[in-house]
């Protein structure tokens, strides 16, 4: 069995009296692409936030690279945080900074590189996500939806993470842009050996990109496995989601 990059055990999440996760277990293996799938409000994004320590579960253990992000302090915590990159749903680019400064921001924070080196690395990151170098001068407000995602991805990759977390990477993109984004992530994963966890609603993305799928339902992981294994599970949500008329077309395709 492959090594676990992220390990969740007995996660309980509550919003007020509403229980979102009840003793949820999940492990993400090194080098795989895992999709978190589930109905609206089943806590996909919340789970993602708990993995990276933005939110603390009411109970349970979170381990990323064998360490609990919540327990670490200071330099250790910073070192762990550098090992993952996060692509937020709406990009979360710093709106007051041009694209190049957005990507340069985490690099400058390390204080390891001279200005010329930072510029060189920024140009490299822009090329990696398939953007022309002159994109660097634009402000985030001037970018299209697909470009925002690419710039956010470049920023997430700036510190050469081993683990990439994507929240709805293809939401709001047209089919072509979303297909291009999926192949971009595939290429980057092959080149950089990334482990990827993504939250998505998009069946095409799941089919083309993901090694395994975790279906969140009934306050836990209802099913976990390859797409073929998942669709064989007799669960009302899964049957409806993957094998409804719309889904069946995609899964078969």
């Amino acid at each position: 069995m492959a090594e676990a990059v992220i390990e969740l055990r007995g996660i309980v999440t509550r919003f007020g009296k509403r229980v979102i996760h009840d003793r949820l277990d999940l492990a993400v293996h090194r080098g795989e692409v895992l999709a978190l799938v589930g109905g609206s409000g089943c806590g996909k994004t919340t789970l993602l936030r708990e993995m990276i320590g933005l939110q603390r579960p009411a109970a349970g253990v979170v381990r990323v690279f064998g360490q609990d992000p919540d327990r670490l302090r200071g330099a250790e915590r910073a070192a762990l945080r550098r090992r993952w990159g996060v692509l937020f749903q709406h990009g979360a680019l710093f709106s007051a900074l041009p694209v190049a400064d957005n990507i340069a921001f985490p690099l400058r924070e390390t204080r390891l590189f001279a200005a010329a080196e930072v510029a060189r690395l920024v140009a490299r990151k822009l090329a990696q996500v398939g953007l022309p170098p002159d994109t660097g001068d634009l402000l985030p407000a001037a970018l299209s939806g697909g470009m925002i995602k690419r710039v956010a991805l470049a920023r997430a990759l700036a510190l050469e993470p081993e683990l990439l977390l994507l929240d709805e990477p293809t939401a709001g993109l047209d089919p072509l842009a979303s297909e291009q984004f999926v192949s971009l992530i595939q290429a980057l994963r092959a080149a950089l050996g990334l482990t990827v966890v993504l939250v998505t609603h998009d069946l095409d993305t799941i089919r083309d990109l993901c090694d395994r799928v975790a279906v969140l339902a009934d306050r836990g992981v209802a099913a976990l496995g390859t797409l073929a294994q998942i669709t064989a599970v007799r669960h009302p949500f899964i049957q409806e989601y993957f094998l409804g008329t719309r889904g069946a077309r995609r899964v078969a395709g």
């Binding site: 064998g66 709106s95 007051a96 390390t110 060189r120 690395l121 140009a123 490299r124 990151k125 170098p133």
Partner: protein, 378 residues
């Protein structure tokens, strides 16, 4: 977990001279995470190498952009002739070396011609702003006429909401500030008046100063800071989130629905708030007059009608109306100028408050000169 620890054990990046001949050998992970703690030392070692020698990279377990950048810098930007590297690593290095040098991120330094251009730019921006402000005023007047023709289309609910938020909820703070200013004014004057034995003139001094100047001015400044800034930010965010466009699409004019009621409400509530602030200022003055000069409340109050003629009240009411309209128009003007980024939202809000307070004070000076003969006895 032990197995995981062993599997994630990382290989330190290493740089060793070759045993035979001029050359170097790399080993370990040349990745940012591994390089970071040893960067200074490795840079020093790399600086002592030369691209002319042979380089053996077979021992590399990993290489990322940061590692490639360091190596290429040591090699002077091109791959050494005698390079032995795994296919993937070589590809990365070649790609990096071939990539275009990054475009300049920063703009050119200011030159004299640039300064002139900047000045011209400012003038053009300023005149453009003036034009935009006039256009906003004109648009508001047109909306007012349109609404007057069809009174049932008047956004009464928004008007009342603004009256409540910017007026009623502002009463505690304006009252407190008015009271305190009244206390300060009265206390300072009492000390002076005592010297001349002119204690009863405290009524004239405090009454006139608060009713004619301080009440309207303080009320306008506080409302500008409290509600003007809020209006700018609110309109700005609505612009960013395309809510204004949504209104337009539904055939609802944002000018009529959002801006007109705000401006009118500020015009209506400002005289009331100003009157209240003056009142509190007089109460503050009266308290100090009692404590410092032994002037009873009764004596103070019976002196007031003789000190403040009715004209002064009218003057300060009209003045406050003008202040309110100006604060509203300025706040909405800057709200509509917000660009889609966080810095602009903050900058325009600041500008809105500074501009409206400056304009209020400038207008107060104008009023003082223009109506110097109004509202005095004798």
């Amino acid at each position: 977990m032990a197995a995981i620890g062993a599997a994630t054990a990382r290989r330190e990046p290493q740089l060793r001279p070759l045993a035979a001949g001029a050359g170097w050998q790399l080993a370990g992970d040349w990745t940012l995470a591994q390089l970071a703690p040893r960067l200074r030392e490795l840079r020093r070692k790399l600086a002592a190498t030369s691209a002319a020698g042979s380089w053996e990279l077979d021992g590399l377990t990993a290489l990322d952009s940061a590692g490639a950048l360091l190596l290429l810098e040591a090699w002077g930007g091109t791959l050494p002739a005698a390079l032995r590297a795994p296919e993937r690593q070589r590809l990365l290095l070649e790609e990096f070396a071939a990539s275009a040098p990054p475009p300049k991120l920063r703009r050119a330094r200011p030159s004299p011609a640039g300064l002139v251009a900047a000045l011209g730019d400012r003038v053009l921006t300023a005149s453009g702003q003036l034009g935009a402000a006039l256009a906003l005023l004109g648009q508001l007047l047109l909306e007012l006429v349109a609404v007057a023709a069809v009174p049932q289309r008047f956004p009464a609910r928004e008007l009342s909401a603004t009256l409540y938020k910017a007026g009623l909820l502002a009463l505690p703070i304006t009252g407190l500030v008015g009271l305190l200013i009244g206390v300060v004014l009265s206390y300072l004057s009492a000390l002076q008046l005592k010297l001349f034995g002119a204690e009863t003139f405290i009524v004239d001094l405090v009454g006139l100063a608060t009713a004619r100047e301080l009440g309207p001015l303080l009320a306008a400044i506080l409302v500008a800071g409290r509600s003007g800034s809020a209006m700018t930010a609110e309109l700005g965010v609505m612009r960013l989130t395309e809510e204004l466009d949504a209104l337009r699409v539904m055939g609802v004019s944002p000018f009529r629905r959002l801006i007109l009621p705000k401006v009118l409400a500020l015009g209506l509530l400002m005289p009331l708030v100003a009157f209240w602030t003056s009142l509190c200022g007089i109460v503050g003055g009266m308290l100090v007059a009692d404590l410092e000069l032994g002037l009873t409340f009764g004596q103070f109050l019976s002196g007031l009608p003789g000190a403040i003629p009715l004209g002064t009240y009218w003057l300060s009411l009209w003045k406050s109306l003008a202040f309110g309209l100006v604060v509203g128009v300025v706040a909405c003007f800057y709200g509509l100028r917000v660009q889609p980024n966080t810095a602009s939202l903050g900058a325009e809000t600041t500008r809105s408050v500074v501009a409206s307070i400056t304009m209020v004070i400038a207008m107060d000076a104008l009023f003082a000169v223009a109506f110097r003969d109004v509202g005095w006895y004798g």
